[in-house]
Symmetry: C2
Subunit: 374 residues, 2 copies
């Protein structure tokens, strides 16, 4: 294998596929990046065995040739060292691999030799049937992921809850994530010849948020065990989580005793302030309504002190007396992914979950269970 390549494009591609590569892995070859050079294509692959990222380098970018393959072949090179060296080299890179897998990298007056590994030992990509696909713009896909993935469980005791459940049914995609104390749901209309439910690991979705930010159209392909998110230059293969996702539709209340409309940003700032004494594990915030014009947001630490504030209610229907304690971090996570200026909070007493809906957008809903009163 022998080739010449543009330094910056090579470095960008290495960074992309390195996102899932770890230096601590039970399979040492996965600390490396697989590079495959064919006559007219150059492909990099990185993996943590659950997720594979495949990145092709375009032959021509802005009218300039990005690489030239003199001799085809493939090799696996340490992701850490390859990334560090390519970043620091002064100019275009000549890369050559000999029969002992020694990789010689030249750039200007700099020569480096790295010990490579046999590409044949690298695990192969999951097999995916490319006939049935769903096309979706990257902007929409990223929004769907952002509005749900945060609500998935970080706790491995119920593995299905660590993913987001993608359900395709009659041209409607429904994504749900829950950790059983809070739930985020997003609906999205999309032409699809796929039917069924797929639990996609949050870890894969988080990588997708970083990788596809500049891409325009993404194709989704699903099998029973894997899902592929594929754009022009990047493919992300992820193993699906096995098991049945719980039926969550029964959790969402149909009517509410009290509905309050508030300013989204103001509410977020108020909860942020009230989180003064909170930690990541315990951030109890109390909401109290005594009359129909104002809501009181407060928190308290017996040791340090207390904080409270009033916010004006834009609209209220139903019961005008409420006192409920919620996890402030869950509330902030929910409000951060709402783009609308106003939000409605739907209460059903102090021990039932509250429903949060953006005003003027029916595609998104969130549910948060109260904390037992202090």
């Amino acid at each position: 294998m022998e080739l010449k390549i543009n330094k910056d494009h090579f470095h960008k591609a290495i960074l992309d596929v390195s996102k899932v590569v770890s230096s601590r892995t039970s399979l040492p070859i996965l600390t490396g990046i697989k590079i495959v050079a064919k006559d007219d294509s150059l492909t990099l692959i990185g993996s943590n065995s659950d997720i594979f990222i495949e990145r092709t380098i375009p032959k021509v970018s802005n009218g300039i040739n990005m690489f030239e393959v003199y001799q085809t072949g493939s090799v696996v090179i340490s992701a850490k060292y390859l990334g560090e060296i390519i970043k620091k080299l002064p100019e275009d890179i000549d890369l050559k691999v000999n029969e002992n897998q020694t990789v010689t990298i030249k750039s200007g007056e700099v020569i480096s030799k790295l010990n490579g590994l046999m590409a044949e030992e690298y695990p192969s990509l999951p097999e995916i049937d490319l006939r049935n696909n769903i096309r979706i713009t990257s902007g929409d896909l990223l929004e769907i992921i952002k509005q749900t993935v945060f609500a998935a469980s970080k706790n491995e005791t119920r593995p299905v809850l660590t993913g987001v459940n993608f359900t395709f049914q009659k041209d409607l995609l429904t994504c749900v994530a829950t950790n059983s104390q809070r739930l985020a749901l997003k609906k999205y209309k999309v032409k699809s010849n796929v039917e069924g439910s797929f639990i996609v690991p949050s870890t894969a979705l988080t990588e997708i948020l970083k990788l596809f930010s500049h891409e325009s159209v993404i194709n989704l392909y699903a099998t029973e065990t894997n899902m592929l998110f594929k754009s022009h230059t990047i493919s992300v293969y992820t193993r699906l989580i096995e098991g049945s996702y719980p039926n969550t539709s029964g959790l969402i209340p149909n009517d509410s005793k009290t509905i309050v409309t508030l300013d989204t940003k103001q509410l977020l700032k108020g909860i942020d302030r009230a989180s003064l004494f909170g930690s990541e594990r315990n951030n109890n915030i109390t909401f109290q309504i005594n009359d129909k014009s104002k809501i009181n947001i407060s928190s308290k630490s017996s040791e340090m002190g207390q904080i409270e504030e009033m916010q004006y209610i834009k609209n209220i229907t139903g019961n005008e007396e409420i006192r409920i304690t919620l996890d402030g971090n869950f509330m902030m996570d929910a409000l951060k992914v709402i783009k609308e200026d106003e939000v409605s909070l739907h209460f059903n007493g102090s021990i039932r979950p509250i429903l949060i809906l953006p005003i003027g957008n029916e595609s998104q809903l969130q549910l948060i269970s109260p904390v037992r009163s202090q």
Copy 2:
């Protein structure tokens, strides 16, 4: 104590004095900030018992009144909670302390109560004789610190080496830092009626680098046990390190077998590249000269591979054959604080320290001991 204060100025002052405040301290009152309100002045103090930072808030800034004291007094408030709450409050702040040291903070519709501590329990500032001082511009002082402090020891076994030795003698300030493997020295002409040597802890100097970046003139005052760095609004009191600083003048070679002139930035980049296989603890870089035109910079990892590059020598005098192994991190630290375009390396064989001098600047020198050959 009762006062009204501009939010942003208050927050900036809290951040400044909080720099040395730790939440883990053997003296609980030091987790707090002491606030002293007099009729026409407002002062904040933070400390870790070795260093005190005192910050006064100017009464008027850009023609606007910054604060109004309605009732004088003093209190100690948790630095962590005070900083967090003030940052998030919407507007100007009303602060009131009652006889139980409960601090009530109001801003717009937000009210917070924090449990304060008695100001009388806060340790007092070191006593400093303000008659003898040295005036120095902040730009010059920060440069002197930057060019020396990095070379001080991180290891507490010889406490004197963890500081920078300031020597005032006949209108000349000489600053020296060494960890016994490398040394940085800076000379600076300054009018001074102070004579003597003072070992200033690196930790204090590092805070000074952050605190005085926008100030113009700094006055230094020294006693046998403390030094004070004082600008218009900020005073930093630091305990000095006890003991005698080693005499380092004998270490600096008077002549050299080989002197090589190189481009400073190119050399730094080359060493950075050669550090590919290095870690923070071990980053051996080999320099080799075989003929008078080029220097070879290389490093090697038996497991991962090797890297080497050639750089052109601008000028060479003396012996033309050299091979020496140095700590690449020490070399990079030294080159980073040299502003001149060219640098000369003075060699005396492979087991004697090398001397690094900026070309055209005699106020600064650095010395680095070689590593035993691998």
